[in-house]
Symmetry: C2
Subunit: 427 residues, 2 copies
């Protein structure tokens, strides 16, 4: 195979015809495959079957003197706060344990900022006119959708291999209408980037014009290495405190990709003052989250060391999925010079950059062939990828055989759209 | 014992001295008792131990083809929607199953009304200037706190033995700033009143000035008879639809007082249009609620008939608690003519009306003697009982022996404050 970039018009046309035939064959197979979301697969779910029986008798339902079945203890069971504190390297008093979704805690934080204001807000965000939020892109579509849902103006910030472009961030935060920033600092969604220490330090020492500027530190993949050992990561809460920014950051994580995606537990970590403030607001919303599920997790996961052991087992399952996709891309696409992609060592995604202007068309073709991918542009604010290039590949859910089929189809579609594009630009 | 109302000043003084001595003795005993919240007691929690093992193996984690452990299916497992539909006598498509707290669903409804608006809102409530909300009183303090937290103006509406005073309600809804009404229609908190069919019909056929006026129908005690058989109750959704008010009501219930208070499942029921609208808004907040706990509940509770059997067992535990409090009040307080109270057949509370102007003082004395009760006034908007009279008694949590002690202390405190009051007014 030769680079498409060096082919003449006739070769491109021949190639396109060939690809079309191959793709038509695939369409005939009536395949239905989903690589759209970072959903753990069946084998991974089986790793946590012990969670189903970790609390199976009435007298196991206690955390000290607290009955996990009954109402109360809004900030979470002490043992669950301690577990997350261990994982995130913070103190239990900085941890609020919620329900099955950290996304809900993030949404509620933003929602309460709008209706009630945060600890240092001069007024609720609903009263602040235009609210701007920094969106390192590509990023997590659900983050951006929360911002969009509240009518914020989403400000794209480029991602670099070291994290968000901090020159841009430092420029924007001088604007008092910029009230926060989404971050997925370790194995970023979708690029799999680990923010560098320098980037993290610059974030912790920001001097934003808005007194309630809030960094949402979604540490979703904090222990999610699938290739190699656990990578220690700075504690953003301490770093912010050291830089006079105690209350500037809320960190989030969950067990969604440690135990069961839909039935795990989540947490929010921040300064004690922030946690106290939010706990008071949340006390109007709910008496307490599901402490029985918190207890199940505490008994099953035990501590960080034990969590890391479990994550090694996830890694054994996940790594072949990533390796398969990467090896097919390597052999099928690399020589053609029509795309490049990330080779992450943790997280849930491979981020592929197709030839500019071809991502939408590629995914349209994939859909026709029965392969569902995350919508093109979804990883950018407002769903608009300025280069129409980024494609998020989520290899975890399909079986290896399905994944092979889906990736081969993706490769054909990438070739198809690139060939169309090249033919059009050379007319 | 004679009525305090007929005693002369000297007798009142002697009586007060005697009560003071009795109370001092109690204080010396260093009692710590809690009758503040409608928390199920230990025996009740044991009734649902089967829930701990109803899903204990990986291959039980499925509802049809849906894996309850994984992400997705935001509106809830089909089987869980069917279970609540059975309990509430509505259709599964009208049911949205949430997490462990119906309060959270109610809060989120109001919160989204403020930030996004409801289906028929001309604008989000945050943009509507003064928002007024009808609060049948006495009522559930947590309802009123949600309204208060969003800065609504709380409009008290008197409770009658048939439900809220509908003449007042029908007057108020002509005001376009009145955007809703809290209702606890069966075994109302705290009075234990069942809204009459006539009241329910009048609610269902309201013609409010505000197009997005919303009845919050908190059917928390829908199957919660502790004395006598299950009392069928009209389906408010059908009644509203019949009266051209399809989208006017959101009904809520949960298993908090069927299985585990802190680890149950909850639901919201409304027109399909409302459920679709809310599901779209909630899809930004959370991917899905804990379906595994939904499945545990479906397998443990089975259907309404089976739920009613379980509620009979709760009744066996609860009834003696209510009977004990009522019998002590009957013998200790009734002859004195200083208070009257409800004798409910379901729900979680006895609502006591002390001599006007003495509720606060009574509970202050209770606290000194180690008995925690719901704060005086808590059952009224802004925590202000216009008569300083209502005291909410929650007899479920303490053991019978503790309950006897606590009720005896309450009786002494009622006598103490009544005597003080009578002596003052006769000066």
């Amino acid at each position: 195979m030769n680079s498409y970039l060096e082919m003449d018009r006739t070769s491109l046309e021949n190639e396109l015809n060939e690809v079309k035939l191959l793709l038509e064959e695939k369409i005939k197979q009536n395949i239905k495959l989903d690589m759209s979301r970072g959903k753990p697969g069946k084998e991974q779910l089986l790793l946590s079957s012990g969670l189903l029986t970790s609390v199976s008798e009435a007298d196991q339902c206690f955390d000290g003197s607290i009955d996990a079945r009954n109402y109360g203890v809004l900030a979470g069971l002490p043992s669950a706060r301690a577990l997350f504190a261990d994982i995130l390297d913070v103190s239990p008093s900085q941890v609020f344990v919620g329900g099955n979704a950290s996304l809900q805690l993030m949404y509620d934080l933003i929602s309460k900022a709008y209706t009630h204001g945060l600890l240092h807000s001069p007024a609720p965000w609903a009263m602040r006119g235009t609210v701007r939020f920094l969106c390192p892109s590509p990023g997590y579509d659900r983050h951006f959708k929360i911002s969009q849902s509240f009518g914020m103006e989403l400000i794209p910030v480029s991602m670099t291999p070291l994290g968000p472009d901090m020159d841009t961030v430092e420029q924007w935060i001088k604007d008092p209408s910029v009230l926060g920033m989404w971050c997925c600092p370790k194995y970023s969604n979708p690029d799999g980037i680990i923010y560098s220490n320098e980037t993290i330090k610059r974030i912790a020492s920001l001097h934003p014009a808005a007194p309630d500027f809030t960094v949402i530190w979604d540490n979703a993949y904090c222990v999610h290495e699938f290739d190699g050992d656990y990578v220690p990561f700075p504690d953003i809460l301490s770093l912010c405190a050291e830089n006079g920014n105690r209350d500037m950051v809320y960190e989030f994580t969950s067990t969604s990709k440690i135990t069961f995606p839909g039935a795990g537990i989540s947490c929010m970590a921040s300064s004690e003052e922030n946690i106290d403030y939010m706990t008071k607001l949340i006390s109007v919303q709910i008496i307490s989250y599901d402490k029985l599920n918190q207890l199940r997790h505490v008994l099953f996961l035990k501590d960080k060391a034990h969590v890391l052991e479990l994550m090694k087992k996830h890694a054994e399952v996940l790594r072949p999925h990533f390796e398969l996709v990467e090896s097919i891309l390597e052999s099928e696409i690399k020589p053609l010079e029509i795309a490049h992609w990330t080779n992450p060592k943790g997280g849930y995604f491979i981020s592929l950059y197709a030839m500019h202007g071809t991502a939408k068309r590629t995914l349209e073709l994939c859909a026709k062939a029965g392969v569902t991918m995350t919508g093109a542009g979804a990883t950018y604010p407002y769903g608009i990828d300025p280069f129409d290039s980024n494609i998020r590949i989520a290899p975890s859910l399909p079986s290896l055989e399905e994944l092979r089929q889906a990736t081969e189809i993706l490769c054909l579609c990438l070739r198809h759209s690139a060939l169309e594009q090249l033919l059009q630009t050379r007319m």
